[in-house]
Symmetry: C2
Subunit: 388 residues, 2 copies
């Protein structure tokens, strides 16, 4: 047996990747067929239909981008934003900042409207910025993985309507865990990743774009800066013609299909409900341990929970102990929140009673080790009560 087989089996309760069910691991290991094989072309169509289903959209342009979530972001930004475009980006976390940086590299005139990391965007400020610059696109992050904030979509859509702007939403950490209605909410450009609430390994980025967005793509003044991510070319491969563009990550597409089938068997509504329930149980436990959530209850993600590090606690030592003693990964703070919060993901199959209890138990043990004082077992008890 080679060394690789000895990788530890972690419980992945960080910001993603989440754990991958056996069915998906079995799917990714299937023998390959060619990327132009009739059987693979069928599989591509199936994946696209399942993505339309989970995005709640009829958009023709719906496909898994051949890269991780960040490639999905770059694909969204580079195709629908071009040199000279006025763009407003709402930045209330690390990933909003990344969108702004990409938009600059795409040659756009970027106006950033910032909110503190842990709060939602200031819709009034966004609105004023839009009035000033008349943006072609307004971009924001629906579920900020770096802060744990869920950003309401509809108020931003209304600003777009006033200016005929496209709405671009990063849904990496909401797809499959939170309600997301691409068509009903009129999100023009939406992308996600596979390794969060879909419980698939990282490596593909589901993306969908409305006909209005595609119209902007077709009437660009300049070519898309990326060839690899140029949707007008990708449409040749994923659209009717199925003509060669690049060799799709075949094994990953097998895995994604299986992961989406599992979500479909679950049912979207039941799945979201489950995420909410276990999130609330975790919060009850965290508070019973005397700790505080970083985000206002009205804006909390169910999929990614930011917990403030209590004063005097060495947060890195806690994470290291969680990993070494409990084989349990939680995430560190990112950007402005580095050192200040832990990020606890409960995504897809990982959103379960068992996982809520184990993370509360383990966290309590690690905190005590550092002299933190709390009622023994209070977290687990509160969580368990919250669920009954």
């Amino acid at each position: 047996m080679n060394e690789g087989a000895r990788l530890p089996e972690r419980l992945l309760l960080g910001p993603g990747p989440s754990n991958v069910p056996v069915r998906v691991r079995e799917a990714i290991s299937r023998p390959l067929v060619g990327h132009l094989d009739p059987e693979f072309l069928k599989l591509m169509s199936e994946v696209q239909d399942l993505l339309r289903w989970i995005f709640r959209t009829d958009n023709h342009m719906t496909l898994p981008v051949s890269g991780t979530g960040t490639a999905g972001m770059e694909c969204a930004v580079y195709n629908f934003i071009e040199e000279g475009d006025a763009v407003v980006v709402g930045v209330h976390g690390y990933f909003g900042g990344r969108i702004a940086e990409m938009a600059r590299r795409a040659g756009a005139e970027v106006t950033v409207v910032s909110a503190p990391f842990g709060e939602p965007l200031d819709v009034g400020a966004l609105s004023q910025a839009a009035d000033r610059v008349k943006p072609k696109v307004i971009a924001f992050v629906h579920a900020e993985t770096s802060t744990g904030v869920l950003q309401p979509v509809q108020p931003i859509r209304q600003i777009c309507d006033r200016h005929g702007a496209l709405l671009l939403a990063d849904c990496v950490t909401s797809l499959g865990g939170h309600p997301l209605e691409v068509d009903e909410w009129e999100i023009d450009i939406c992308y996600s990743g596979t390794q969060k609430c879909l419980n698939c390994p990282p490596g593909l980025a589901p993306l969908t774009a409305s006909e209005k967005a595609m119209q902007k793509l077709r009437t660009r003044r300049s070519k898309v800066r990326s060839w690899y991510l140029d949707l007008s070319l990708l449409d040749g491969y994923w659209g009717e013609h199925r003509s060669y563009h690049h060799t799709a990550p075949i094994a990953m597409n097998n895995a994604l299909r299986e992961a989406l089938l599992i979500v479909k068997e679950d049912g979207l509504e039941a799945r979201c409900e489950r995420h909410k329930r276990h999130h609330l149980a975790l919060v009850a436990g965290i508070e019973a341990l005397g700790m505080r959530m970083h985000v206002d209850p009205n804006y909390r993600l169910w999929t990614l929970n930011t917990v403030q590090v209590p004063p005097g606690i060495d947060e890195a030592a806690v994470r290291a102990r969680l990993l070494s003693k409990f084989n349990l990964e939680v995430g560190a703070g990112l950007g402005d929140l580095a050192g200040k919060v832990w990020r606890i993901g409960l995504m897809g199959i990982n959103s379960s009673l068992k996982n809520v209890l184990i993370v509360l138990h383990a966290l309590e043990e690690c905190l005590r080790k550092q002299g933190y004082s709390c009622t023994p077992g209070a977290g687990v008890r509160a969580a368990s009560e919250a669920l009954t």
Copy 2:
């Protein structure tokens, strides 16, 4: 059992993907660890060391780009070519043309030096073009997957030396199948794909860059147009700091490590020798069947064989029958060679006596079905003799 499990088991003798050995399929299906887990960071270092070994380089900047071979190409072009750079691209096939197109999108002043599809580049013409435009970079395809031509590297290196230009080589279909000496041949920028001679699913692009290339990256006048593929940022993740940039395709990296270990156990020299031997056997068989190879013997790839479609033969019908009757994929012609050749890949573990015999047998059967006349069993006999 769901439908996906019923995908056929193909013998993949096209231009890639090639078949994936069980060890690699097992590796890709292992439970995930996080992308910043100490165990994954170790695995990243192992993959980088193995890539340095197979590229025959000491380059610090050596990593698997998180996308397919085309992402590797885009990463190579976008990092080391910037707006206004004079660039010469040798185009003797479809993929050379793609490099030229990407360089244009990167804002370069591109001079294309073309050769007919099936011939190597005209070094004299390249040299003259370089004298004229004083390029910062000369780019070409070492192993043209679209034509079956192996392009000698050293004469182009000499042109680079005269102008202090960087040498950029696409080695997607040569790495692990043909001799490739990145350091000895002074290739500054080199990339490949996983799904060819490495027998790993598609989804990562091994890439290496010399210190001289990195110096150019560090002194760019403008930011790299892609954020996802910006090597100065990727170096933060794959370099000493291991700071977050994007979530690496963890399962794919597991698979790549295993695939590279298999190549190492084989030994590079023995592996290349095996590719040559089976290539020669295939050629003997093809010619014994009265068909002709498309490329001059001095420039033939061992890994990808272009066979001219005999007059009067419906080439698509042959491929369809190979697939339906023999579960065997061979490739169609691409670009200028569409309809004119078949592309038969013998890559990595697929370069075997068994596969040479089955493809010759199956091809003969399909040709006869269309009334083609040849000595029965002549192909298989000639191949088998060539190997003794």
